[in-house]
Symmetry: C2
Subunit: 218 residues, 2 copies
């Protein structure tokens, strides 16, 4: 069924609102961006903004849904230990990039999830998913003889991977001035996360990982 002109225009406006909101939220923090600011940046009236979104929380929810779709990916099942290391590396970068794009969600994650039950549940499902993915990747590496770790060690390790990946940008934004934060810091983040895994790797795999992360040392 074809879309008429007005429907198309509505969609474009919704898109503009979401894009600008994301930009402003990431730059200043969601709590520090008013609906009037968003409307103003788009040279649009507040009334018009509220025509498209019932309230500010709906904008946040819409952005969260996109984030959810964006970050919901699985590492490629791989053949061979060397390939598994590469896959881990790539997967980590993709995940960190998604977090970077929606980094406003990670500032004040506590408050955001505390005030919105739905977001909280979804976010926890994402974490569960990621924990399982890391766990599976490690199990594969152990099976391939590229890693030595007990299932218990892997569980604890996976949790640390999640903590560091989740909060890396927050930590960096404290250590540098927030404005200086850039996508380049993702490389350092990936390095930090992979260094959690490194000491459990054996021979070839360990060397391979070291070679991959070397450029990102800082």
């Amino acid at each position: 069924m074809a879309l008429d002109g007005n429907t198309l225009r509505t969609r474009r406006t919704v898109e503009r609102i979401l894009a600008e909101s994301l930009r402003l939220f990431n730059a200043r923090g969601e709590a520090n961006v008013t609906t009037a600011t968003i409307a103003g940046a788009l040279e649009m009236s507040p009334g018009n903004l509220y025509y498209h979104f019932r309230n500010k929380e709906r904008i946040v929810e819409a952005l969260f849904e996109r984030f959810e779709a964006r970050i919901d990916m699985d590492p490629q099942p791989s053949g061979g230990a060397a390939q598994a290391i590469e896959d881990l590396w790539l997967y980590l970068h993709l995940v960190l990039e998604a977090i970077w794009e929606y980094r406003f969600l990670y500032r004040n994650l506590d408050d955001l999830l505390a005030r919105n039950r739905r977001l909280r549940d979804v976010f926890n499902r994402i974490i569960d998913h990621k924990l399982a993915a890391v766990d599976a990747l490690c199990a594969d590496l152990v099976a391939a003889g590229a890693m030595r770790a007990t299932p218990e060690e892997i569980r604890v390790l996976a949790r640390n991977v999640l903590v560091v990946a989740t909060y890396w940008l927050n930590y960096q934004s404290i250590r540098k001035r927030r404005d200086d934060l850039s996508a380049a810091d993702l490389g350092t983040g990936a390095h930090q996360v992979l260094s959690l895994v490194a000491p459990y790797l054996l021979g070839e795999a360990r060397a391979h990982l070291d070679a991959l992360s070397r450029p990102y040392i800082d």
Copy 2:
């Protein structure tokens, strides 16, 4: 010089305000606690509260100063590898306890430090201090033959220790319901942090650390 009755009363009132603010901030998050709420909980008028603190931020700053004094401790310099492991364990518990007591600071750390330059600088000095302490502890362990790690590995490791220690409670508060969070979760946190160090430890030291953290596995 002796204090007169009024001065003593003032001090007591200041203490009551700080204690109640800390309690409420930790329970609900600083942004979700109004000055009227604090005053009400103390059965005190808002005007009176403002007699003792020029504004809400001053209350936060006063609490932060206490946190700073509370967390500013050094690990005991130790003799012997086994002793060093025990020291690390104890030190970590003390630090995590301090964070627990002032956990409201760690929710919305970004916003808090972004809006208050002084707090930001002080907090970064604390982190610098802790990074140096972890670094020194690891260097001691290496010197004692209880750890194998390059200086570069130690630097990256120390950073991961800081990230996990700093954000552990935030992670837990997402994973559990925030109200269910308790001081007992500090044990799990200590376990997570120490598991970062464990794979670099050798023989005795490793076994010793495993034995210490075993009760906290969850």
